[in-house]
């Protein structure tokens, strides 16, 4: 397996004592897969992604990519954050070039590669715009182009469409699916949006609420999704997957609430 998370446990030390956020997470992702982890907010999704990114170190267990243990962040993993993280003083073009610049790629190659990825995300006409002139969806497409420009082997997405309105979000889903197919990407995405997960993924891991544990793994088998969101969402199996996940998250949420109330009592 390409990405492996083994027996990963994360405990934060807080003012109120240790906080168990992730418990014994085991998962793997093969090259070319689009895998989602879904969970309620606060279930430790971002924490999990940060361990894979190397932005934080697990308390126990670890993350391996291609057999190599992850010990820190690096450009071999591209990451797109939930909040807009474009450099506000750089143009769109400069933003996308920045990772290549850090790697010392010569100017001409840098420019061509940035152009290529901006074309891939459909923003060829906005190369000279500043981030603040773009809409939310466009900003995230630039962020995706920036993450792809250094040609990472794994794309990590932390609820990248969470801040977008429904219409834009669905457009971005179609865009993301198309990009994944065209470029043969390997994607690990986290989200609280069950429909988003079902529409995009080949496989889904469901995380329980507090502490985050993998409570189910679902392999998604839907017909050709390039027909678009509307067509796919009408498919009966889409509803089955969605309902299964919604029920699951609701159950784990209620269980977590009962535990919390028992603790408080």
């Amino acid at each position: 397996m390409f990405l492996q998370v083994r027996e990963l446990t994360k405990v934060f030390s807080t003012r109120h004592g240790p906080l168990l956020v992730l418990e014994n997470i085991n998962l793997s992702v093969a090259q070319g897969e689009f895998v989602c982890a879904v969970g309620a907010s606060g279930s430790g999704k971002s924490t999990l992604l940060r361990q894979i990114a190397g932005l934080d170190q697990p308390t126990r267990g670890g993350v391996w990519i291609d057999g190599q243990r992850v010990t820190g962040p690096g450009a071999d993993r591209g990451m797109v954050f939930q909040h807009y993280t474009l450099y506000p003083w750089m143009t769109v073009q400069q933003n996308v070039e920045f990772g290549l610049k850090l790697q010392g790629v010569p100017k001409r190659e840098r420019r061509e590669r940035a152009r290529y990825y901006l074309q891939m995300v459909g923003l060829s006409h906005f190369t000279q715009a500043l981030p603040r002139q773009l809409s939310g969806g466009m900003k995230q497409r630039v962020a995706i182009a920036r993450a792809l420009a250094t040609e990472p082997r794994l794309l990590l997405l932390d609820e990248p469409f969470g801040a977008l309105d429904l219409h834009t979000r669905e457009m971005m889903h179609e865009f993301m699916l198309d990009l994944w197919q065209r470029m043969g990407l390997t994607v690990f995405m986290i989200t609280h949006d069950v429909e988003e997960a079902v529409f995009l993924s080949t496989r889904i891991f469901a995380l329980s609420a507090r502490p985050g544990r993998i409570v189910r793994e679902i392999t998604v088998n839907l017909p050709d999704r390039s027909q678009g969101v509307m067509a796919t969402k009408r498919h009966p199996r889409f509803h089955d997957y969605r309902d299964e996940l919604v029920m699951l998250l609701r159950q784990t949420g209620q269980a977590a609430q009962r535990r919390a109330m028992a603790m408080a009592a």
Binding site: L55, Y87, W89
Partner: protein
């Protein structure tokens, strides 16, 4: 049962008085029309000027206490023509330029490093915080003792008086760099040096310029203080000399020139922020 049209519920009730009355002048945290804004600014300059003129023309005020605008203008002309005014202005500006320039040159890297690395902040902040509250003019006797009475103690005074403010304020600007922007840079392959130089520094540039703008006012005050104590030329020296000979009109000239230069420098820095950091301007 049909509702009775004469029942109290059906009679149209008067709307209560709205809790927020419309207003142009009292718009809270909102822009007022540009022409009104300009007119109000004009008023703020003209009212004191006219009051001054009225007081000196129709009031029975001794010119030794309050010279008229005309007398002050004449004195300015006199000092300008003799070249003394330019000499004094240039001397003061030079001291501020060197003292404040050195202060910024050292304080910006120190402030950036303290803002970026908590370890360095722990090393620097207690001392800096303490030094900041020691009034710089209180150092004058020491500076004269150590550095004599030439330019050095005056420049040192400006340096001491602005360095700690500059460093601590630059340090604070780093707080506003979103953590995710730094992490995004790590994920693009950036190391710490790259991240500080290419992400933190550009992000805080408007904040640095603003810090300079604010603390320049302090530097401008300190140079006058230094010159009041000991100097052969400078605007502060001009004022203290004029005071000794009861040339109130020249005191006024000195004060007005100091104010205008300060205002000019302030506007210059505002302009600098506007042209270098377009991205940070409101739309």
């Amino acid at each position: 049962m049909t509702p009775d049209p004469t029942s109290p519920q059906m009679t149209p009730r008067r709307l209560p008085k709205p809790s927020l009355q419309p207003s142009v002048f009292w718009r809270l945290a909102e822009d007022i029309p540009a022409p009104l804004y300009r007119r109000l600014m004009l008023v703020s300059v003209l009212v004191p000027l006219v009051a001054w003129w009225l007081l000196t023309t129709f009031g029975q005020v001794d010119a030794k206490f309050l010279p008229s605008p005309g007398q002050v203008a004449t004195a300015a002309l006199r000092l300008g023509q003799s070249g003394e005014l330019w000499q004094d202005t240039w001397a003061s500006l030079q001291r501020v330029g060197i003292g404040f320039g050195l202060s910024v040159l050292v304080a910006v890297p120190v402030g950036v490093l303290m803002g970026c690395f908590q370890s360095l902040r722990a090393l620097g902040e207690p001392l800096f915080g303490l030094m900041r509250y020691m009034p710089a003019p209180a150092f004058i006797p020491l500076l004269i003792l150590y550095l004599g009475i030439d330019e050095a103690p005056k420049i040192a005074l400006i340096f001491i008086g602005t360095f700690f403010y500059n460093a601590l304020m630059v340090m604070d600007t780093v707080k506003f760099v979103p953590k995710e922007l730094i992490e995004a840079t790590y994920m693009l392959g950036g190391n710490r040096i790259n991240t500080v130089l290419k992400v933190v520094c550009p992000h805080i540039l408007p904040g640095i310029l603003d810090t300079c703008r604010i603390n320049l006012a302090g530097a401008w005050q300190l140079v006058i203080v230094a010159e009041l104590v000991a100097a052969t030329e400078g605007l502060g020296r001009r004022i203290s000399l004029a005071g000794r000979f009861l040339r109130t009109d020249e005191i006024f000239v000195g004060l007005i020139v100091i104010g205008l230069i300060g205002l000019g420098l302030d506007l210059f820095f505002q302009y600098l922020v506007r042209v270098t950091c377009r991205w940070a301007q409101p739309e």
